[in-house]
Amino acid sequence: MKGEDLARNRAAITGVGYTPLSRDSGLGVEALALQASLSAIRDAGLAPRDIDGVVSYGVGDSAQVRSVAQALGLEASNWYADLYGGGSFSCLSVANAAMAVALGLCRHVLVYRALNGRSGRRLGRSTSAAMEAVGGAEQFSVPFGQLAPVQSYGMLARRHMIDYGTTTEHFGHVAVTLRANAVRNERAIMRKAITLEDHRESRWIAEPFRLLDCCQETDGACALVVSRSEIARDLPHPPAHVSSFAMGGSGASALSPDKVDDFTTFFPAHIAPGLYARAGIEVGDIDLAALYDAFTFLIIGQLEDFGFCEKGEGGPFVADGQITPEGSIPVGTNGGLLSEGYVHGLNNVLEAVSQLRGDAGVRQLESVEVALASGWGANVGSALVLSR
């Protein structure tokens, strides 16, 4: 194993910041990015001049790194990375910053994601659907009415139902659990408790997914600061050490799963063994799983492939209450993307940091030593192991 854990605990998350999450921010994405970034930098006990690297991700809907750096008045930088990508890039962006820190390029790297995901460009809507003709990969999807992630992920969920007997009621348990968590989170967009019956009666969007299986299209931004671990100890908050990270998957793709053997083995099956080994942990050591949850089923699939339960047992596992705050592996303590809001996954990473620090208020779990966070898009995903 020598050489495989060079980055372990060399970087730590030292500051976090949010804008309010809403359906209509009334602000541009750059204003959102700056507000969240400044808040994260100050939370870390730093000033913008201390930041010497900036990483962000987006799909052409965010503020550019160079403009944010300029507007913040950063004095020097060794690392700017404007990554083009969606949900699978949430943990990748933090990993990218952690690598810049671990290699000695930077002392403090700012990471942010800003979007007007409801009032601006909506990820749940296909802009191509309004065009006269579509090329590229979309010529094989849009003319057939596959237009949005709710449909492509719905197909993965359906195949899981066929292979393992998973039910839409299992999805309902995920929705109800995460909503109950959001009720206790002042930042959350959706704070009214729901029942399994509410879930069952919500309208179909792309069957087997109902409205309450889908995340919240959100306006907002969040940001964090990744610092060298030896400096992190002197900053105001307990550091959340970056113990390991990974980005990968298989050839399987939610968008174009046409060259793979099976639709029900997901990215964690490929990255989890190395992720845990490099962090020096086993799955049983994880106290909190901040799993990417654009749709309810995604939690079920990840619980299996990250090893929290057996393959095919994710549905019964959530129905048994195992992902509630009192369960064996709490998931989405902030309400997740399903109910807190959808800042393209980065807000789930911030919740993991908050739980590790012990400042999650009424949502605080007892003794969180190790947290897992993840991001997922198409056939690939990224993940972080964070430790106190």
Binding site: F144, G145, M155, I162, S256, F263
Partner: protein, 133 residues
């Protein structure tokens, strides 16, 4: 004004597929070195990395692997409709995304046998869809 679904825009990589549909044939790229079919069209065989690929007619027979029933879509798309992945008879895992037509959405079942049919969109483009065999 009638809203229309977007048409596919063939390119050098995909033209053979759409020309086949125009002739009411399902044609896919096939590797001349190892015989693997490749869909969606790609510049390289994912099985052996050969770039010697050519278009070859397939039977158009398949079975439904997974699907969704879409209930919410822009006005050009008449809901509810079924879009899914059909596994073609020629090769395990060889799948094509398409619509299942001629069957009420509630009657659609995993593994149901399907056969390709073609919807005429205009003088140049036919859309390959699938009906119960």
């Amino acid at each position: 004004m009638t809203l229309k679904r977007p048409l596919p825009l063939p390119d050098d990589q995909t033209r053979g597929f759409w020309e086949g549909c125009g002739d009411r044939e399902l044609r896919l790229l096939c590797c001349e070195d190892c015989g693997t079919y490749i869909h969606q069209p790609a510049p390289m065989c994912h099985a052996c990395n050969s770039t010697r690929l050519d278009w070859k007619r397939v039977s158009g027979d398949g079975a439904l692997y997974t699907w969704v029933v879409v209930h919410q879509a822009p006005p050009a798309y008449e809901t509810p409709y079924v879009v899914g992945w059909i596994e073609l008879a020629e090769q395990p895992g060889l799948r094509i995304l398409s619509n299942v037509v001629g069957c009420p959405p509630a009657k659609v079942q995993a593994g149901m046998r399907l056969r390709v049919d073609f919807q005429v969109l205009n003088d140049e483009i036919n859309l390959p869809v699938f009906r119960p065999a």
